[in-house]
Amino acid sequence: MAATDELISIPALLARNVRLYGARPAWREKEFGIWQSWTWAEGAAEIRAIAQGFLALGLNRGDHVAVIGRNRPSLYWSMVAAQMCGAVPVPLYQDAVAEEMAYVLDHCGARFVVCGDQEQVDKVIEVQEQIHHIEQVIYVDKRGMRKYDHSRMNALADVAAEGKAGHFRFDADLDARIAELDYDSTCVMLYTSGTTGKPKGVVLSNRNIIETSKNSSGFDKLRPGDDVLAYLPMAWVGDFIFSVGQAMWTGFCVNCPESAATMMTDLREIGPTYFFAPPRVFEGQLTQVMIRMEDAGRFKKRIFDHYMAVARRVGPAILDGQPVGLGDRLAYWIGDKLVYGPLKNTLGFSRVRVGYTAGEAIGPEIFDFYRSLGINLKQLYGQTEASVFITQQPDGQVRSDTVGVPSPGVEVKIAENGEVFYRSPGTFMSYYKNPESTASTKDAEGWVATGDAGFFEEKSGHLRIIDRAKDVGKMADGSLFAPKYVENKLKFYPNILEAVVFGNGRDRCTAFINIDLTAVGNWAERNNIAYSSYQELAGHPRVYEAIKAHVEEVNRAVAEDPMLSGCQVHRFCILHKELDADDGEMTRTRKVRRNIIEQKYADLIAGLYDGSDSVHTETEVTYEDGRKGAIRATVKMMDAATVAPAQRRAA
């Protein structure tokens, strides 16, 4: 085996994997209804051919190569091929509209763009009207591309074929370029999703990626033979760590779904052993299970309810290896045969050894549901600037309200204002072409401000995150305002998809609610409530009643925490449209953009505070093809009962 100190770049790791695991599957993709697979040796040959093709097209050292498309082996290969040539891959969000893409392509100055299909090529061509440094557009899927002007455009397969054919010309140059890569050269550049302002290009070195992959793989004992499903945006740091960094470090197999719409089927077919999903995926699956159980026969429903109660009682304890009585173990074993096993199989979680969720807070019921089935679901806390990992939960110490202990090699400290800082081998090099932001985020000693407010629990030593530090504000009476804390509690109800709480600097809190069309629609069907549109359902009086009950329950829970009791929601309205990234209301990773929402719906917010019963409003929406339209609606405002804070009630 090669010495660790030689493994200082992704291409070096690839070469080692070919030596050690050459004949094992490294990438799979479902295409034409069948899982196609490539071993490490086969994949490495493809990557080398693409790299040589890039050289033939004139890719220079230090160039940025933009990669846009859904998760496919050929796009992962293109990224590694770019690294071999001494260039830097820059994966972009594939669902970004052309103008969003224009900013990033302009900022990184990419000469080469690798696109998944015609849709992405069209966007790049649109962008080329404004920026002129893109020299080569390379596409994977040939469909519909025949009529395009190919003077500066190539199919990836042709690029690879040309590289292969001319390998004698390029071998020496390519080997020299691979040899030049060192631990501090740039591995990848990833753009932040831009919750606040313009996206920033985070430059991550080989050291960042490889050290992080090494530490985190060790933490969870990942090994060759593990399977992951690569379905999260390639532009997201997590996907780069899981599907490239950790996959290369440990030599496990990356499986790419057939299309976004088949992801759930593909998940079941692959049965990954290591799985990551944002909370909304777990929420969505649980909602589906519950909806289907509502429609099941009475006998099945009773078995399900009975054994789920058993699982809730003893499942997590069994998973954590705590002592559990023989009777309970037996009941759990029967439940596993009758309910949990088949259910896990249906969900595609039969083989999951390590599962993670992050990005948003996950509802305790949702979290416990999966854990009680025996799925080792854990939480982590991280960000792009840290190469993902800041804290994570060790096996056996998993809870829904914390994000775990500092990951191996990571130091964490809490500033006086409650903001979380960290320092780690994964800490990013810099923001590309943005020294001011780099300086304001990372200090001379390497400490990075996360922008999140949190604290360490004294008993367990686990970190708890309250909110974005800048979102934490003060109410008019000086009490703490932490909107995310309340929003997360609201979102734990299946009926509520999104919530936005207002109240900074005001005397009371109010909220916007987005209903979850799947859950509320199903409820409406069962209760014979007719509706013809999202808007009508959202405005239905009985939906308002149901949401009001949820809000009041949350108010009671919030009131129990004396520090945050001021955040109870006094009035709310249900929005007439879903908050959408296409309208700029959320980021591509589905985080609420508070400022934009505040401006856009200023009339509704005014209505929430001036006591009016309803507000007539008109909202601009953007359709998927980029055209704009408007939705008009009269939105009702409703009061919710609040509870006096705990200590005052005692007085």
């Binding site: 034409f32 009529k147 299309s259």
Partner: protein
């Protein structure tokens, strides 16, 4: 310019020679004349539209092309040969496939099975081999399945591969029907109102697919459509019918300017 060898379209596609020619077709149902003395041709690689107001005889025309109706007068020439009256399966074997205005799929069967039926005329294995699913039949099915999977990929319906057709929304059913027609690898594809009852987004998707089919497989397409915008964007040449007669024939912009066509669609101008 149209010559015997074909012509170039505005977007630079080469259209070939005559694939099918209608010569003086007249079709009667009892005393009712559905089609009166119509002649036109369909060229290789072309997207040819037949338009007209309600009751103009468009669907009858398509049924004549597909061989379902046999005209009392006139001749149908296909690939340089005069066509005799034929059974539907003979038409299919000749390389003509179609979709229907009212979807005609097997509702209880999966999408995959429905599309597989499109390859029926291409299956060669004997009855015994088919029944036992052994030897030639098994190899053949694998090959056919591969073709079908390519079409599923092409039309982006992977996610409903195993879904029974009865559970699908209308727009997707239309796409499945197109897939089944494509599975027969037709020379000539007949589409009877492919966009009827669709919303804007579904129509755009369908247009895309029709253009892609024509581009990718070189399939000649004849379609009937109500939506004028769609027809004008999509087709290379348009036949306009009214009361069973041909009142216009030519490229979309020429047809649009034709006073006869304007009169048929918008009514007569009374000065």
């Amino acid at each position: 310019m149209t010559t015997d060898e074909g012509y170039m379209t505005a977007d630079g596609r080469k259209i070939g020679g005559v694939l099918m020619e209608m010569k003086n077709i007249t079709l009667r149902f009892g005393g009712v004349k559905a089609i009166t003395d119509i002649s036109f041709d369909i060229r290789e690689g072309e997207i040819r539209a037949i338009i007209g107001p309600n009751g103009a005889g468009k669907s009858s025309m398509l049924n004549v092309i597909s061989g379902f109706y046999v005209p009392q007068e006139g001749e149908v020439w296909f690939r340089g040969k005069k066509r005799a009256p034929m059974k539907p399966y003979e038409v299919a074997r000749q390389g003509i496939a179609r979709t229907f205005q009212n979807i005609a799929l097997f509702e209880g069967m999966s999408v995959l099975d429905n599309i597989m039926t499109g390859r029926l005329t291409l299956m060669q294995a004997g009855l015994a081999s088919q029944a036992l699913w052994w030897g030639a039949a098994q190899r053949e099915e694998t090959a056919h399945r591969e073709k079908v999977e390519k079409i599923i990929d092409f039309l982006e319906i992977q996610h409903i591969r195993k879904t029974p057709v009865g559970r699908l929304p209308y727009g997707l059913k239309k796409r499945v029907e197109l897939a089944r027609a494509l599975a027969a690898e037709p020379k000539l594809l007949l589409l009877d109102e492919p966009m009827a009852g669709m919303n804007v987004e579904e129509k755009e998707d369908m247009c895309r697919f029709i253009l892609d089919v024509n581009d990718e497989f070189g399939t000649t397409i004849a379609l009937i459509e109500h939506d004028m915008g769609v027809v004008m964007d999509l087709s290379d040449r348009v036949v306009v019918m009214d009361y069973g007669k041909k009142i216009g024939d030519g490229p979309p912009e020429e047809v649009r300017a034709n006073p006869e066509v304007i009169r048929a669609y918008l009514g007569v101008e009374h000065a």
